[in-house]
């Protein structure tokens, strides 16, 4: 064998050994390694013949066996093995950096769009999805009474004895806790100290074990510390403790509540917060807890008086809990209601707390999802346009042997990177935007305190951005792989055009359709809110200051004391300069605070003999004499209360609904209503008079209790003096800004009675505004999303028309040269855009209908097919999209055929 042949055989051996190395190392270094071995083999052969050469063979084998697998195991580069991803990222980044305007505009669009999506997601996640901050919160349920056919109350509180029934089923229910309907209290650090009104509620000791709260200082209630005759104990929340000076030695000390001494036994940790969500009214953050001063078991079974929380045994299914609660309810129904159909039912605590915000949030979530979809389509069309510009480049790549996957990867990376950057900056924007929006939301929005962008949400947004980018890049990536070499040759003649143009126009049509859906929904919601704002709630809100004055029985034990105090407050307030009227009520309008009870109209012509019809559940509202006049309520028939009350003559006002129901043809004035211990009554701390006949003196329009735009339960007004209502909310009307009266009112109250405090000071206009805040906020968010969508569609349209003008410049020049005038050509280009808009609108119409049905729950007083809102949406869309077409289309006016054709 000649030397050269031996060297060549060796080379084959060395090359074979290279298989032991990973492919990328082989690509980079393989040839050099083989060459070096070959050089060495030549030397060895020269020096020692075949023997030394064969030693080198063995040595090369050992070398490769060691280093090949060693190189394969090297982790730092193994990520590259699947393909050259690292280089792809680098190339994509570099390409984006070069097209800086494109990158900035795209990322900017994504930032704003994804920012909006992030804000919506934050609200939805924090309110609807995130677990409540209690241990195993999915095991917690509220329990409510449904009175069925007994009386029209579907979500009423439980009676005291119901608790014992629930406690019996220990197999499913681990713990039962009760709290009384929100109870305000006048709090002072010491006797004669400055009084403030706090939100305090009485709870069973099991409340804290059920929620698994451990006090920061001191202790919570022991099981035997509740009930009649037990000492007055109070547990403070961290917030209240801070407000009164954060004194750690307060534990064991005494404070005053309603004038009585209470011993502070503990302070709760700052992380604990409990918001009582009222059945219909506003939720209140509880600031202090006391125990019940009476035994719940001995309370009347027909008196709804406590909200009940239960903790199910861990692992008990919701169905098991529901049937356990239902069984307890059947026992109660049989024992106390003669099987007339009372039911008990559980509602998971989170479901219960968020129930009011849920419909609006679901609509927002849907709008957010639509916007995300629009962003994807928009990005896809932008990327497609960009890919089309690079058609030539792709064709060359492929001609040079780049695989489909390489070309796809390049486009996918571009989309992914853009999405990633947009998601990250969108999340940053959302931090600020969420903060701003939370400030706009109503204070009683469920779980409002926790609403902020956190790391999880930021992470989700970045992932969402990247996914969206990849999805968007999929279309252009697929298209790019199809570009064939032929386009290289064809492009100079046809100038792009081709398949991507149709795809892009399809995307524009989709965007127009989607934005029409969002715009119409936004229009409907905004118009609904506008209706609400203009609605007549049955009173005149302007110029009225309201505040609550607590007058606890501890300070005013006798009815005469109470009425005397209330008289004095009214008189003194009336003396404030500028005040034109003062009155008071037990239940301010739009606060859902009236006491529901059943009444009857014996002998009224409208009676039918059916008890459900003849004993309606009404809102019982106590007012002082001049309330109707001060509030600006409307009297339909008869008169308001006599300014001077005559003992033994009890006057009543009924609303239009009751008058129509019971006195369809006749005159209700003078008819009698017996009010007393008959029938069903909810928990109140009123002092009852024996059954008395109240005489109807007038019929009024409702000063609405629940919604500004529609009547609630029928209303019955009586004088506060006749029932001893307390506390009262005073209403002070003046010609000047009502807020300017606060200080004087406070001073006047302090002069009359230093032990009481003003609570819940708001102008009537604020009360109206607070009620509408949730609707206003959601309308603002939906409107913003809709406008964002419209702008996206306009941008897309702008891009398509603009590139169409560029592409067709030659054709247009020819047309001009052949005698078409500029206006005609402009119409031609505009027509192309208009056609896309028209098709988009046509496709969007069923979506508009579907979306209208979806948001029906949010629309008050308008139909989901409201012509004004829908027409406004369509016209707005038309104007903006046509402007987006016109601006780039105008360029055809500047085309000079001679010059343009000469350039060819």
């Amino acid at each position: 064998m000649t030397g050269d042949r031996l060297v060549n055989v060796s080379e084959r051996w060395f090359r074979l050994l290279q298989r032991l190395y990973p492919p990328d190392f082989r690509d980079d270094m393989g040839d050099a390694v083989v060459e070096t071995y070959r050089d060495r083999a030549r030397d060895e052969l020269r020096r020692g013949g075949i023997l030394r050469l064969s030693l080198l063979w063995i040595r090369a084998l050992v070398d490769s066996l060691r280093n090949g697998p060693g190189e394969r195991a090297r982790p730092a580069i193994s990520w590259r093995r699947g393909g050259n991803w690292g280089r792809d990222v680098e190339v994509a980044t570099r390409r984006l950096l070069r097209a800086r305007t494109f990158a900035l505009v795209t990322i900017g669009t994504l930032t704003i769009g994804l920012g909006m999506v992030a804000v919506v997601y934050t609200f939805v996640y924090k309110i609807l999805l995130e677990p409540m901050p209690y241990r195993d919160s999915s095991d917690l349920y509220y329990v409510w009474r449904d009175y069925g056919s007994i009386v029209d109350l579907k979500r009423a509180q439980l009676a005291g004895p119901d608790l014992a029934e629930l406690r019996k089923n220990t197999a499913v229910i681990e713990e039962v806790a009760a709290m009384q309907q929100f109870l305000g209290g006048i709090f002072a650090l010491k006797e004669g100290g400055d009084p403030t009104e706090i939100a305090v509620t009485n709870v069973t000791p099991s409340f804290f074990t059920l929620l698994d709260v451990h006090p920061l200082l001191g202790r919570v209630f022991a099981p035997n510390e509740t009930g009649r005759g037990k000492p007055n104990l109070i547990v403070l929340t961290h917030g209240l403790w801070n407000r009164i000076g954060a004194d750690p030695t307060i534990v064991g000390g005494q404070v005053r509540l309603q004038g009585n001494a209470y011993t502070v036994i503990g302070v709760l940790p700052p992380t604990f917060s409990f918001v009582r969500d009222e059945a219909a009214g506003s939720s209140k953050r509880i600031e202090a807890f006391v125990t019940f001063g009476f035994d719940l078991d001995t309370q009347r079974p027909d008196q709804s008086m406590v909200s009940v929380l239960i903790r199910a045994r861990h692992g008990a299914s919701p169905q098991a809990v529901a049937s356990a609660v239902d069984a307890a309810g059947r026992t109660v129904d049989a024992r106390d209601f003669n099987n007339r159909g009372l039911r008990l039912y559980p509602v998971a605590i989170k479901t219960d707390v968020v129930a009011r915000a849920r419909p609006a949030l679901l609509v927002l979530a849907a709008a957010g999802a639509l916007l995300a979809l629009m962003l994807t389509v928009n990005l896809a069309s932008v990327l497609l346009a960009r890919a089309a510009q690079r058609e030539h480049e792709f064709a060359v790549y492929r001609a040079l042997g780049a695989s489909d996957r390489t070309v796809m990867r390049a486009t996918l990376f571009e989309g992914g990177l853009l999405g990633l950057a947009g998601g990250a900056s969108g999340a940053l924007l959302a931090i600020w935007a969420t903060r701003a929006l939370v400030a706009l939301t109503p204070l009683d929005l469920p779980r409002r305190d926790g609403i902020a962008v956190d790391w999880t949400i930021g992470g989700v947004m970045i992932v969402l951005g990247a996914t969206l980018g990849l999805l968007a890049a999929l279309v252009p990536a697929m298209w790019a792989t199809r570009t064939a070499l032929s386009s290289l040759l064809a492009s100079s003649a046809v100038r792009g055009g081709g398949g991507h143009g149709r795809m892009r126009r399809g995307m524009i049509v989709t965007q127009v359709a989607l934005s029409l859906v969002l715009l119409s929904s936004g229009g409907l919601v905004v118009r609904g809110v506008e209706r609400l704002i203009r609605a007549d709630p049955g009173f005149q809100a302007e110029g009225v200051l309201t505040f609550r004055v607590r007058s606890p029985p501890e300070f005013f034990p006798k009815p005469a004391d109470l009425v005397g105090f209330q008289d004095r407050v009214e008189r003194t307030l009336a003396e404030i300069p500028g005040v034109t009227g003062v009155s008071a009520t037990s239940a301010l309008p739009l606060t859902a605070s009236a006491a529901p009870m059943t009444i009857s109209f014996p002998g009224a012509p409208g009676n039918t003999g059916s008890p459900e019809h003849d004993t309606p559940l009404v809102d019982m509202i106590g007012t002082r004499a001049s309330y109707v006049k001060v509030m600006g309520m409307r009297i339909i028939a008869g008169r308001a209360f006599d300014p001077v009350r005559v003992d033994g003559r009890q006057e009543a006002l009924i609303d239009r609904q009751l008058a129509a129901q019971f006195f369809p043809n006749g005159d209700p004035i003078g008819a009698k209503i017996p009010l007393g211990r008959r029938g069903f009554r909810t928990a109140t701390d009123y002092t009852y008079q024996p059954a008395d006949a109240y005489t109807i003196v007038g019929v009024v329009d409702q000063a609405r209790q629940y919604d500004v735009h529609q009547d609630g339960r029928p209303q019955l007004y009586i004088r506060t003096e006749d029932w001893g209502f307390r506390p009262l909310s005073f209403v002070v009307r003046s010609a000047q800004d009502p807020e300017s009266l606060i200080l004087q009112a406070r001073a006047a109250l302090k002069k009359i009675e230093p032990r009481v405090a003003m609570g819940d000071v708001r102008t009537m206009e604020q009360i109206v505004g607070d009620l509408l805040r949730q609707q206003r906020t959601s309308a603002a968010v939906i409107a913003a999303l809709a406008i964002g969508a419209l702008l996206l569609a306009a941008m897309g349209l702008f891009g398509v028309v603009s590139s169409s003008v560029t592409r067709r410049k030659h054709e247009i020049a020819v047309r001009l040269a052949l005698g078409a005038d500029h206006r005609r050509v402009l119409r031609l280009v505009l027509g192309e855009g208009a056609l896309m808009v028209a098709i988009g609108v046509l496709i969007g119409v069923p979506g508009v209908y579907a979306a209208g049905r979806l948001i029906r729950g949010l629309l008050v007083g308008i139909s989901p097919l409201d012509p004004v809102a829908l027409a406004a949406a369509a016209i707005g869309l038309g104007l903006v999209t046509m402007a987006a077409c016109y601006v780039p289309a105008k360029r055809v006016l500047g085309i000079d055929p001679a010059q343009s054709l000469r350039q060819e």
């Binding site: 190392f25 270094m29 050099a32 390694v33 060459e35 070096t36 060495r40 060691r66 280093n67």
Partner: protein, 121 residues
Amino acid sequence: MDRNRRAIDDHLPLRPVEFHILLSLAAGERHGYGIIQDIQERGDAPVPDVGTMYRALARMAEARLIEAAARRAAPDADDERRNYYRITEAGRQVAMAEARRLEMLTRAARLGGLLSKGAKS
């Protein structure tokens, strides 16, 4: 300056094969077999396997201690074309730092009596 220092120190200590590669390249551009021949000529150290050396070359090129020079004909290998490497400024500094480090260790060994004074290290 300080950051520079730290960047250099990050590479220390060098493996013998890496030091030898830098040493060879410090004298001028070399192809792979040229480096091995240099090591053989220096005599004392065991000659590294070709695979070991190329893995080191790949790593050092990634760390920008060396870089690939143009592929060209090699006069010592029948004028066949070979991949040449050259040392970078960073590589030179790392090699110098390593040499200083070894010198200090040697001096310490000598002072500590591990090596006889004046003996060849």
